[in-house]
Symmetry: C2
Subunit: 245 residues, 2 copies
């Protein structure tokens, strides 16, 4: 009998073309689906909580898949980890209710963006951060972040210019913390538009470098125009931390 | 006028053939010397505190070099970081006394070896640890470690079978700590033989897996024979943390 399984997955997105399967390209979903096909003998969809862009990492992405297996959940996890490349790991497999759907049932997501503004970029996590050549003013970025929190039309922060659906989202919190040269931006919201976290960070960095004032982000929000916002910050600094259900 | 400069260097050793320069091979010393040659216009030795093996990392390796430059120490650091690959970083450059010698003046070194014995190897630091397939008994390894501390002839733990000089060394402390699935082995001593830390870890892992008793390490020490000790643990888990002067 087919069952619905919930997967928690961690990956280093550096060498991948993002989550979503694409012909002839290495993607996270593609890798998972090919292991699942090997295990089940037939192609089975792996449904992710969302799509991460090329180069973006995940501490705990959630996915589900419906298939038949005699293996226990921990054995399924071990089977995946035996055949997956070492930059993708299945952390946990659990049997879920038949109604569980990784995308539709997600009620919140936490993303973290890591910058480093010290004089020497650290060697060991160089692939998981974005080096910034100006010392960032965390206080002014926090002021700007307050304007960006809440329910807003984030059209200015949407990377998809042909987006036809609503660009209104709720970002309940944006926290900015410094630990020596590391500056962490933590976003929690019900959902995010394409590139939205990276454009928010790209805009906050303009504030942190003194290039625009914190209040300017209000005008950027109101412009509802991608060109009003800052650049899209590089993918390497972004990590999907957690999905809430 | 030539001055003596002290360098503190961090590197991810994964893709290098170790510290020491070798013709036609990528090494840390080789990379540093080629940047220094570019800067000074002539070949100049970069003297390291010691030689790390292929694949071994360093949090803070120390080196010195004698050369003439109009640049300030921080500018020398930035010059190096501009031309070095991103897996090698010069953390600090300081002018040192003419008598400072990174190898001869070193009085102690700290190495850390990282194992992971949980069910799923972490993605983000996978290159800086060694995954172990048995849950390690930290208590028995600590008992064994006590026998390995002190001044001993570590011939059984020397990877160089043709070593003609004394194999007596002082290891003042071996600390073993667990943090969830991570098990850290921290060694401090005045000096270490070739592969010594990795063979000590390989032997302690036999104890931790229950394959030999803690007391057996006394016999291994007394045997003064490489064949008596455990295998050489993989390079990836080892990191030179600090050099004392």
């Amino acid at each position: 009998m087919k069952k619905n399984y919930k997967f928690t997955i961690s990956y280093d997105g550096t060498r991948y073309f993002g989550w979503e399967h694409q012909p002839d390209k290495e993607t996270i979903q593609g890798k998972l689906e090919s292991v699942l096909e090997k295990m089940c003998g037939e192609f089975t969809d792996v449904i992710g909580a969302g799509r991460t862009d090329a180069g973006v990492h995940a501490q705990e992405m959630v996915a589900n898949a419906v298939f038949e297996s005699d293996l226990e959940p921990d054995e399924i996890r071990d089977y995946f980890n035996r055949y997956l490349p070492e930059d993708i790991r299945v952390l946990e497999v659990r049997e879920a209710s038949p109604r569980f759907h990784a995308r539709y049932k997600a009620v919140g997501k936490t993303y973290r963006y890591t910058c480093f503004d010290g004089p020497v970029t650290p060697v060991f996590d160089r692939k998981y951060l974005t080096a910034v050549d100006t010392v960032l003013d965390v206080e002014v970025m926090r002021k700007a972040a307050v304007f960006l929190e809440g329910e807003h039309d984030y059209k200015s922060f949407c990377g998809n210019s042909r987006m036809k659906k609503s660009t209104v989202r709720v970002v309940d919190s944006i926290k900015i913390q410094r630990n020596k040269g590391y500056v962490y931006f933590t976003f929690h919201g019900t959902g995010f538009l394409q590139n939205m976290v990276r454009i928010l960070v790209g805009t906050l960095l303009l504030v942190g470098k003194g290039e625009i004032k914190p209040e300017t982000v209000v005008e950027i929000l109101e412009a509802k125009d991608r060109k009003a916002a800052g650049p899209t910050a590089p993918a390497s600094g972004l990590c999907l931390m957690k999905v809430d259900y």
